[in-house]
């Protein structure tokens, strides 16, 4: 019994000694210390870079000013109130979707992925889809068309969109075309301009 008692005691004595023997790990600086916060931020973002790709109206504002002069001149004309609260023809997503899908499959029937061709093909396709959507004749609607081409090389891609708009009249349509070497995605947003 005594032996057991001693045996039990020995580890109890050893245990508190251990943490002081182990080298102490450096603690990360707290978020609340001002300089440390900047240091943490720099560490996190050390491997990341970013830039602004495209902006409209352009930052230097020279082209935008022309439009504004015209617009303020127009404001002096007084337009009669039309008393219209809603669009004449509501945006019908299904008919636009079939049309866009048809244009997409027609254009991309036999294309293989090619860098140079695709960079102006994407612009051309966007313009074509825009003019075909305009042909539908939805008055007072503003449109945004987005065309994405992604080469299939085994990487993963995730695309998300959110919006704030008037749920009663605004809507969106998406069309996808998949080929062997790439995937083409078209998003059409229609917004009613009051």
């Amino acid at each position: 019994m005594e032996k057991r008692g001693r045996g039990a005691k020995a580890p109890a004595v050893q245990a508190p000694q251990q943490p002081s023997v182990m080298p102490r790990k450096e603690r990360r600086p707290s978020m609340f210390e001002k300089e440390a916060y900047a240091q943490i931020l720099r560490d996190r973002l050390r491997e990341s870079i970013h830039d602004v790709q495209y902006v409209e109206p352009p930052f230097d504002d020279s082209i935008a000013d022309l439009g504004k002069e015209w617009k303020s001149a127009l404001a002096k004309l007084k337009f009669a109130n039309s008393y219209r609260m809603e669009p004449l023809k509501k945006f019908q997503a299904h008919s636009v979707e079939t049309k866009v899908q048809q244009i997409l499959t027609e254009t991309l029937q036999d294309f293989k992925y090619d860098d140079k061709v695709f960079s102006h093909l994407s612009l051309e396709l966007a313009d074509r889809i825009l003019s075909s959507v305009k042909e539908f004749g939805y008055h007072r609607y503003k449109f945004i068309i987005k065309v994405l081409f992604i080469q299939k090389t085994g990487q993963a891609i995730n695309i998300a969109s959110r919006w704030i708009w008037d749920v009663a009249w605004d809507s969106w349509v998406s069309a996808k075309h998949e080929a062997e070497t790439y995937v083409a995605l078209v998003l059409v947003f229609a917004l009613y301009c009051e």
């Binding site: 996190r44 602004v52 504004k68 994407s122 301009c193």
Partner: protein, 116 residues
């Protein structure tokens, strides 16, 4: 009849503010992270939702559409184009590209003015 003057839309879309907001949102969500299949849905959703919430807090009379594409970094080709039919004096867009060691992220903001 008085002349109806719209001070905020005269300035047009302020792309500078929008780009700062978006950059901060992306930094906050993806800063220091590596590509992870489990979290990617959550990340894209939170980038987009946070950017939208901050843009709305600016208090301007605009409708916003925010799109985000996050791609794993590898040798791949990616083209994107947009074509818009709107009022160029009051509406605008801003695109921010962000990358780190393991992924690329492209966020697009479209702002359409509401004429009150």
């Amino acid at each position: 009849m008085e002349e109806y003057h719209l001070p905020c839309d005269e300035v047009g879309f302020n792309a500078d503010e929008a780009h700062n907001i978006v950059k901060e949102c992306i930094d906050g969500v993806l800063g220091g992270e590596d590509y992870n299949q489990n979290n990617i849905n959550q990340w894209t959703a939170s980038i987009v939702e946070q950017s939208l919430a901050h843009l709305v807090k600016l208090g301007k009379a605009y409708k916003y559409i925010v799109t985000c594409a996050v791609v794993q970094r590898s040798p791949y080709g990616f083209h994107t184009a947009s074509s818009c039919f709107w009022d160029t004096t009051s509406d605008g867009t801003c695109t921010v590209r962000w990358e780190n060691r393991t992924m690329n992220c492209i966020v697009n903001v479209f702002a359409i003015a509401i004429v009150l």
